[in-house]
């Protein structure tokens, strides 16, 4: 969890509002499992989720993923313009190992100078907002 000098900052962090397409994602993270939407027919993963496959139109369902991936890009937030984390911190755009182009954003819990594109990371599901749901953060791992 982030430490902060402003106790209100974490509770003011943005809170996701699940909908019928995304409910399975958030319910899974609440159970401590990262699951991604996947086509039951062509087996392609898709994110953000939708009840039907964007490629073939067939039904999808959520399936657990490894939680492993690579940093595809990242920023170092130095000026806080959105509440939720104590600067400086790294937001990574992480491409999951399961399929090219399936990416999640999350804070990368590593020294800001240590993060680089291509860095292998693993997901950690942390409470967000009021704690009803969990959201992805990432930590470095050895390959």
């Amino acid at each position: 969890m982030t430490t902060t000098s402003d106790p209100g900052a974490v509770t003011r962090a943005p809170v996701p509002v699940p909908d019928a397409d995304s409910a399975g994602f958030w319910e899974s993270t609440r159970d401590g499992v990262l699951s991604i939407d996947r086509c039951t027919q062509c087996r392609r993963w898709q994110h953000p989720p939708l009840e039907a496959c964007r490629h073939c139109g067939q039904p999808t369902r959520f399936e657990p993923v490894s939680g492993r991936g690579e940093v595809f890009s990242f920023i170092v937030v130095r000026q806080p313009t959105v509440p939720g984390h104590e600067p400086p911190y790294v937001v990574g755009l992480v491409e999951l190992a399961e399929q090219s182009g399936i990416r999640l954003t999350g804070v990368v819990r590593a020294p800001v100078d240590a993060v680089h594109i291509g860095m292998p990371v693993e997901v950690r599901l942390m409470p967000v907002g009021g704690g009803e749901f969990r959201g992805p953060e990432f930590v470095p791992v050895s390959r």
Binding site: T11, V17, I75, V82, G135
Partner: protein, 378 residues
Amino acid sequence: MSVAIVGIGRTEYTRRSGRTPRAMAVEASRAAIADAGLTPGDVDGMVTFHVNDSCQPTEVAWGLGVDQLSWANAVLGGGNLVADQIATAAAVIEAGLCRAVIVYRSLNGRSGHRLGTMEGPIEVAGEWQFDAPASWLVPPQWFAMWARRHQHVYGSTCEDLGQIAVQQRAHAVPNEHAMMRTPMTMEDYLAGRWINEPFRVYDCTAEVDGAVAILVAGEDIAVTCRQSPVWLLGSANSQGGSGWSAWDDPTAMYARTAGPQLWNRTGLRPGDMDLACMYDCFTYTVMATMEGFGLCEPGQVGPFFAEGRATYGGDVVINPHGGLLSEGYIHGLNHHFEAALQLRGQAGTRQVQDANLALVTAGGGPYGGANIYSREHP
């Protein structure tokens, strides 16, 4: 096409207008109508776009004393829609549904809602809900993420971004309408505070309060107006659906498809442009879209600016008014104002010599478009 920009209007740009977006839109519209030598009763269409504060076309028309519009459209969207709105207005005119249309944008972008910041409590629904845990929710974060990828793939640098900011500031210095007119060196740029690495403060647009109105009409009206018509030669859009995290290649923006389409439609080439108003919500938007529209090879935009090719006497004058970065962020509609001023030969000390053709782009990331304007009748 035989539709032209016949009138342009704007308010002053300030940090705190103390006025409503409606009042500013009415002032800018009246100015555009007067510029054309027309009267409010000649206007039968008004359109705008908005993601933060704005005002409805019917409210603005009322303020102009116009009680009936044939077309009144307010589209939810950002700077990606600007070129499209002018081109769509032209199509509406060519279809015979309207005779003269005002495209306007009015906002208290500085004193009202600022697009780069959010305050709690924040509930995030829809496509951005997955980015709530990382608080990755505002444009200065999205574009910085894309810029970093460009640096990784092409070896572009913060100094390359700085070249864009420094050149555009130099262009803004003589522009009395610009918000940021203090000359800036590369040292000044690099000393700017970090916002989201790799963006410093000078990579981000200058948010302002103000309004711009562009009056578009068909040839029948255009040839009777007070000002020389600025003809719309062509337009192309590429509005992508994949958002800021799933877009396949953040080193290239919408321009990779809109660019070739625009050149194919018009039969023109990037080298034909005398000036280009490149949408510059951030420096990186200029970099990626100059590459996409073929003004420069990928990875070479920094040197292009450093060698003086983006200014007077070079290949093409990029953002002679200083752009959104230095003139101010009227959501890109001020780019079309500047292009019209230049093609009319009325840009004063910053006039691009013999300006005949202008590229004006709109938007960034997955979404955007561009128009080409001509001084000469097509």
